[in-house]
Amino acid sequence: MIGGVFALAMLLMGALVFVVAERTVALRIDSDLIHHKAKFLRVPSGRAATSEEVAARIRDWQARKITSERTYSLFAPDGRQVAGRLAVRPRPGLSDVLFLGGGRTWQRGRALAERLPDGSLFVIVQHSEAAAGLRALLPHLVMGAFVAALTAGLGATWFFAHLTARRLAATGATADAIAAAGDLARRVPMDGLDGMFARQAESLNRMLDRMESLVETQRHFASALAHDLRTPLTRLSTLLTCDLAGDEARLRRAIEAAERECAGIIAIFDALLRLAEIEGGRHGGAMVALSLDRLVEDIAETMEPVIADAGGTLVTGPLEQAAIHGDPGLITQLLVNLLQNVATHTPAGTSARLSVHRAGDHVELVLQDNGPGLPREDCARVLRPLERGTAAADRRGSGLGLSIAQAIVRFHQGRLELADSGPGLEVRIAFPAVALPRI
């Protein structure tokens, strides 16, 4: 394809060179003719020559020049040839003529004829051997140049294509291997690559690093989910296969227990759906200027009985007045999830404190408890979906509470940090502050 376009371009170029050269030669001949006509038709003093003088000059010129590319003739007004050898009588002006050169071969020539004041016709015919030779040579020359350029061009194209293909072959082989075997551990080999090829291979390898880690996370998530579902499903299956015929009370208890297991499974899927909604920004709430201290107070009121039932205590304060730009539903869920963790994962007697502080252009929400806290290495882990602290013996809850909390904080352009508050856990969340809503 590229070769064809290239050849066509070369051909056009050749044709152009041919036409321009041909035209230049023709113009040159015409101007020669005009120059020599002027020379013959004037005497040295500048006066126009008479026909007798012209005839004399022709004869004189013939006597001096044996061979010349030009031939001069003069015809009397009655048509009789007065001087010169060539019996060609073209119309006045420039024209192409055909004549018998040397009385033997027909030759092409360029003629210039002019009528003299007494009615005689002066004719110059130029037959340039050099011009004819050039004209004959021109097509061969152009063709030769065309073939040479085409060969060189195609050769260079092929060479570069081959070079590029050889460098890309390694990339292609890696991509094919990944596509065929799903082996994301493979990377594009970098040796022998330079310039843009090296940069491209590097960026491809960076993409593969990222993909490998994403797939790893996904794989881990899937196996964790399978594990989390296996437990309640196993219990459910056990309940359903028990032979409880006839024992009304035990049957009812088994049904209740089975329903609880189902509810647990549904809760995991609800939480997963919710997580995906929040991460995708499809949770359906509206962003408003939100008074965080009031919201904290409100939710503490709701969650205090929950923590009290779990044997803990919840206190609030100090609650500095602060507003954030947020979705009330999401911030509520964030706080409920965090307080739920206190109720579920700390021993009886744990006390937790919720506080709100303003810090520069941020609002900080802190939940601190005096429970056993989390080992440092668990702090990053528990924020991931379906991950629990290593010490968490029970597997209550969906295992998604903190992931959802993290997603909510991220959605609000905030930052969530877990830290050891020695003893106990400190959850510190920073949101960008906005002006307090008018009341």
Partner: protein, 228 residues
């Protein structure tokens, strides 16, 4: 009470019909949108259970069609689409309540009762709910009063009691309370209702009454008879 059930899945449809029947509600079943529009032309219904996705149309379109032709009975929309956005969309389209599959039959029955009760006396219900028997709410003090005794409640407990009194003698489920008292559109997966309910019960016991009945696995009922 007569309920139009519009559900294409034969198992779920049969389950709903028998469940509502057991709760003393007459039902008519329609298995697609065309049948639903046909049935609604020929009969009078107090409530509708409407599946959102039907083989020949969308539940939301059915509500729109009814709207064009006059009054719409109270609608409980059922859907496998359980996201908050879907719920909001369903409610905005004119459904009175929205229930995601899978659901408990008790939840469905309670919600059908609640929506069909909601329509006739919307204005007076708020007033009526301020007292059940001798149990009264005092909004100025956020207090519950029983005879001469009274006890102050925090905002959440007050709203909780008000909601139970509004639906006195009817089952109110945990999810209904989360939606209407707390306004939570997410499933908190925690004992919020249980813990607050036990707190409320303790406060009412200080007044010398214990009118809240827990129906295990179903919900709560405020017994008017216990407030005399």
């Amino acid at each position: 009470m007569h309920c139009l059930v519009i559900e294409d899945d034969p198992v779920i449809g049969g389950h709903i019909v028998s469940g509502l029947g057991a709760a003393g509600i007459d039902t008519t079943l329609a298995v697609n949108a065309a049948q639903a529009l046909e049935r609604s032309r020929t009969g009078e219904f107090d409530s509708v259970v409407l599946d959102r996705l039907l083989p020949d149309g969308n539940g939301i379109d059915i509500i729109r069609a009814w709207r064009r032709h006059g009054t719409v009975p109270p609608v409980l929309m059922l859907s496998a689409l359980g996201s908050v956005k879907d719920r909001i969309e369903g409610l905005e389209s004119g459904a009175d309540d929205y229930l995601a599959k899978p659901f408990h039959m008790a939840e469905l029955v309670a919600r059908v009762h609640a929506i069909s009760r909601r329509t006739p006396q919307r204005g007076s219900s708020e007033q009526a709910a301020r007292s059940v028997g001798r149990l009264r709410l005092d909004p100025s003090r956020h207090a519950a009063c029983f005879g001469p005794a009274s006890v102050e409640l925090n905002r959440k407990l007050y709203s909780l009691l008000a909601h139970l009194m509004l639906h006195a003698d009817r089952l109110v489920t945990r999810d209904m309370l989360l939606e209407h008292v707390w306004g939570y559109s997410f499933s908190p997966g925690t004992n919020i209702v249980e813990s607050n309910m036990s707190r409320l019960r303790t406060r009412l016991q200080e007044l010398g009454i214990d009118p809240i009945l827990t129906r295990r696995g179903e919900g709560y009922v405020l017994l008017a008879g216990a407030c005399r």
